[in-house]
């Protein structure tokens, strides 16, 4: 789905909520451009009759489609264990920094 051979590293970092230190944006921009240019070589091939690859997991072990399960409940995690795993909690809910003004 990549639509260009150039992606602005600062913008991507912002979308991913990653803070880049001084100089890192320039460093990664060069590296990213190189990778994208490399992948861009695929554009030289005529792929109009090739289906996109949609499987990447265990593709050789089953037909590669329709891996489904029955609508039957399985045990959930222990509530206390879940809460213990959260950085902060209150009243059985997970507490996060305020997300609305």
């Amino acid at each position: 789905m990549a639509d260009a051979t150039h992606m602005d590293v600062s913008y991507i970092a912002h979308l991913a909520r990653i803070h880049l230190a001084a100089g890192e944006a320039e460093l990664f921009q060069g590296q990213l451009d190189q990778v994208l240019n490399y992948v861009e070589q695929l554009g030289e091939l005529d792929l109009s009759n090739v289906e996109p690859t949609t499987r990447s997991t265990a593709a050789f072990e089953h037909p590669g489609v329709n891996v489904l399960r029955d609508d039957t409940p399985r045990p959930s995690l222990d509530h206390d264990a879940v809460i213990a795993n959260a950085p902060a909690a209150r009243d059985g809910q997970i507490l996060v920094p305020k997300i609305m003004e």
Binding site: M1, H14, L15, R17, P52, T54, R55, S56, T57, G64, V65, N66, V67, L68, R69, D70, D71, T72, P73, R74, P75, S76, L77, H79, V82, I83, A88, R90, D91, G92, Q93, I94, L95, V96, P97, K98, I99, M100
Partner: protein, 480 residues
């Protein structure tokens, strides 16, 4: 609900409606899909987004999504796949939502429904399967997250911008809700957030092909608020254009207290979801055989049920329309129809006494003590001349509030009609003796004067005499 829009503008409205499917478990894990459970008890590594946890598709959710599509006349996509929609918000702990971007399960479709007496067709673009977000609540110190709802099965039904008024949108939502309920796809309980719509509104000069800039009003569940928001928005946009302004494409909220939409300042960056194919899920392929199997399992839709009531039960179309407007009422009526042949009487009670009790007591017919079986018995008692219509209303009220056996109640409360000839004969003779004037008038050819005599008998019998039997007895006595 009419807008005060001048004739030279046309509104175009599209709806993206999220419907929560009636599955036992979530979309990608075996945690229960359960409303009202204690917070964070139906959660696991998959729906909490723990690293390394892998999703597995719920077959029932796929079936319900496709059946919803078949009920709406969609084409089922033989090859569909999954994508990640990336965003950072604590209600989606993986930092992406699994959805379907370019190959949804269902394509096309339509809803045909009545808007102010006119049949209209609204077109559907697609239905895709995705997952629900967690529930957030906010207070002074922070936001609290309950992940019980996270990862439950959610379908998004996207209409084209084919609606042109708030009335159109209202009719579309009502029809869609009814189809989802009848189809067993969703309970569509608005209070529980089973059905929420994002509403897109734009206006353009009549005759212009290109759509105007659209405003999106997010996450609305009340149909009446949707109507208010659309009407406000159409008027606001037209006024803006008339005054030389320009509509800005944006997301707006609806403040139901003020009856206004308001701009929701967009975060510093525009949404950029960076969709890409979901590597953890394999595509879904649906065969023609599977589609015909599902088609054969589709239940009767409201419009079909309405036709059946007219065709098979001989009800007026008005009755059929009222009775099918809510599924639980129609189901109740259907069950009762298996127990009696007095269909019209049943229909009268459902639309009359039962409906008024529901309003008066604030209890639905399902929650009441009345059952389809006891209501059918009431209809049989009236149809067989055992109790009068007024006694039937009284009996229904007792059954509704207290329940019990209709025949036993009739006995205990002395509601039975008297059909017994000797008792009727005695009352008829008394009536004739006490109403000489009416008797003379009747004999002089005024057939209606028999009603005066009839009234006398009903009074004497405290309403228990069976009216047709009284008339017959009076005529016999007078004619003799």
């Amino acid at each position: 609900m009419d807008t005060c829009a001048p004739m030279k503008y046309e509104a175009c409205i599209g709806l993206e409606t999220h419907v929560m499917q009636k599955t036992v478990t979530k979309m990608f894990c075996g945690c229960r899909n359960e409303y009202g459970a204690p917070p964070n008890t139906n959660v696991c590594p998959v729906c909490l987004g723990y690293p390394g946890a892998l999703p597995v598709l719920n077959a029932k959710a796929i079936e319900l999504c496709c059946k919803a599509g078949l009920l709406l006349g969609c084409e089922i996509n033989p090859h569909s796949k999954w994508d990640r929609k990336n965003y950072f918000y604590p209600d989606m702990s993986k930092n992406y939502q699994i959805t379907q971007a370019d190959r949804p399960l269902c394509l096309g479709g339509q809803i045909v429904t009545e808007v102010n007496g006119e049949m209209k067709t609204f077109t559907i673009e697609r239905i895709h399967q995705e997952e629900n977000a967690a529930k957030n609540t906010h207070d002074k110190s922070g936001s609290l997250i309950d992940y019980n709802r996270a990862g439950t099965a959610l379908m998004e039904i996207v209409s084209t911008p084919c609606m042109h008024s708030a009335d159109d949108a209202f009719a579309y939502i009502q029809a869609l809700k009814l189809i989802m309920e009848y189809g067993g796809i969703s309970d569509c309980d608005l209070e529980k957030g089973h059905m929420r719509s994002d509403v897109n509104v734009s206006v353009r000069p009549v005759g212009q092909e290109k759509l105007g800039a659209k405003v999106e009003i997010k996450n609305m569940n009340s149909p009446s608020f949707i109507v208010e928001a659309i009407n406000f928005e159409i008027a606001r946009q037209i006024e803006l254009i008339e005054n030389g302004g320009k509509v800005v494409q944006e997301t707006r909220g609806y403040d139901s207290d003020r009856g206004e939409t308001f701009s929701q300042r967009t975060k510093e960056d525009a949404h950029d979801y960076r969709y890409f194919p979901e590597p953890d899920l394999l595509p879904v392929e649906i065969s023609a055989a599977q589609i015909s199997q599902w088609k054969s399992e589709l239940p009767e839709l409201p419009v079909q049920r309405r036709e059946r009531y007219v065709r098979e039960l001989g009800l007026p179309d008005y009755d059929a329309k009222v009775l099918t407007a809510e599924k639980h009422i129609s189901d109740f009526f259907d069950t009762a129809c298996h127990k009696t042949k007095q269909y019209k009487l049943l229909s009268n009670y459902m639309m009359g006494k039962v409906a008024s009790l529901v309003t008066e007591k604030g209890v639905s017919v399902i929650e009441s003590k009345l059952t389809a079986g006891t209501l059918a018995q009431v209809a049989d008692l009236v149809g067989g001349g055992n109790i009068s219509s007024s006694a039937a209303n009284e009996l229904i009220e007792v059954l509704f509030t207290e329940g019990g056996d209709p025949k036993a109640i009739v006995e205990v409360k002395g509601m039975a009609q008297v059909n017994d000839d000797s008792a009727l004969e005695k009352w008829a003779e008394e009536a004739i003796a006490a109403n000489a004037k009416a008797v003379d008038a009747y004999k002089a050819g005024n057939a209606a004067s028999v009603n005066a005599l009839m009234g006398y008998v009903m009074k004497q019998s405290k309403g228990k005499a069976n009216p047709p039997a009284v008339i017959a007895m009076l005529k016999k006595k007078l004619g003799a």
